[in-house]
Amino acid sequence: MIALTSPYLWYITRATGFVALILFTLVVTLGMLVANRIGGTVVGRFEINELHRSVSMVALVFLVIHIVTTLLDSFVATGWLSAIIPFASSYRRLPVAIGAVAFDLILAVWVSSLLKVRVKNATWRYIHWLSWLAFASAIAHAYLTGTDAKSGAGLAVVAACALTVLATASWRYLARPTRAAGRTALSPLAAAKKPTRAPSPQRSSATPSNPTGPSNPSGPTSFPRSPSPRTKKKMR
């Protein structure tokens, strides 16, 4: 094993780690913007999607540099496999293991997205949800591993990333667009109760002899609301 004892590797590891974390925060945020159908007027929706894809590539590059420099640095004495197998290293076992888990999940998401055209959409979506777990692992890894992250600027960065994603996730949930009720809504959010809203003004043309259920008001500008769907849909 190459033993490059140099403080610069150590600096690069920490720096690229932080950059990767920030970039992945951006990726997750952009992903939520895509899912909530942001764009279409000034910025195209497809542009946000493309940005999401591009930034994830850059983030992955920084992540790989972060991992490689960690492994090359003899000071930490971890084997190459510890990058993907948790607990394979003897150095800071738990935090590095969490990092390995994060990397595994990111790899899974990345590979499935590269092959997106070839896999079934349901498969791709289920794997893509692992990105939440990957991000949580990355935050945990950053906080537990880094000597920087326990205080000061480092902690501020990690906390900011975590809070950004949390805040955006709340917005993602609360402002989620409704879609055709039920059958294609694989997302677990689709089964959640919708927040109650004031009923739309009644038109005078209510049918006298046929009581109907809740109607679907459809406006040309707003995305139509639909009643709460049932999402039991088996995957082949």
């Binding site: 895509v34 159908r37 279409g40 195209g44 929706r45 497809f46 999607n49 493309e50 997106k116 055209v117 959409n121 791709w124 879609r179 055709a180 059958r183 294609t184 459809s218 040309p220 995305f223 139509p224």
Partner: protein, 79 residues
């Protein structure tokens, strides 16, 4: 995207069950896709010749860009 001039035409087709009305196809291929009032795509049903390279490229981008992979290109050979 090197598109060879070939005979025949193509159709952009959507799987309406997979489609969730994201609207990326309309942005990427406006000459082939318009939106209805509920945000779902109305796709041209007339075949587009491959000679219309711009439209074909747009269609390929649309297929790639659809978040639900609901689009596909159907090749029609005029024989």
């Amino acid at each position: 995207m090197g598109v060879r001039r070939r005979p025949g035409a193509f159709l952009l087709k959507v799987n309406p069950i997979l489609c969730d009305g994201f609207g990326h196809c309309h942005e990427l291929a406006p000459e082939l896709v318009t939106m209805d009032e509920w945000g779902y795509p109305i796709i041209k049903t007339d075949p587009t010749p491959f000679e219309n390279v711009g439209a074909y490229e747009s269609a390929r981008y649309a297929v790639r860009g659809c978040p639900r992979q609901a689009l596909n290109i159907e090749r029609l050979n005029e024989k």
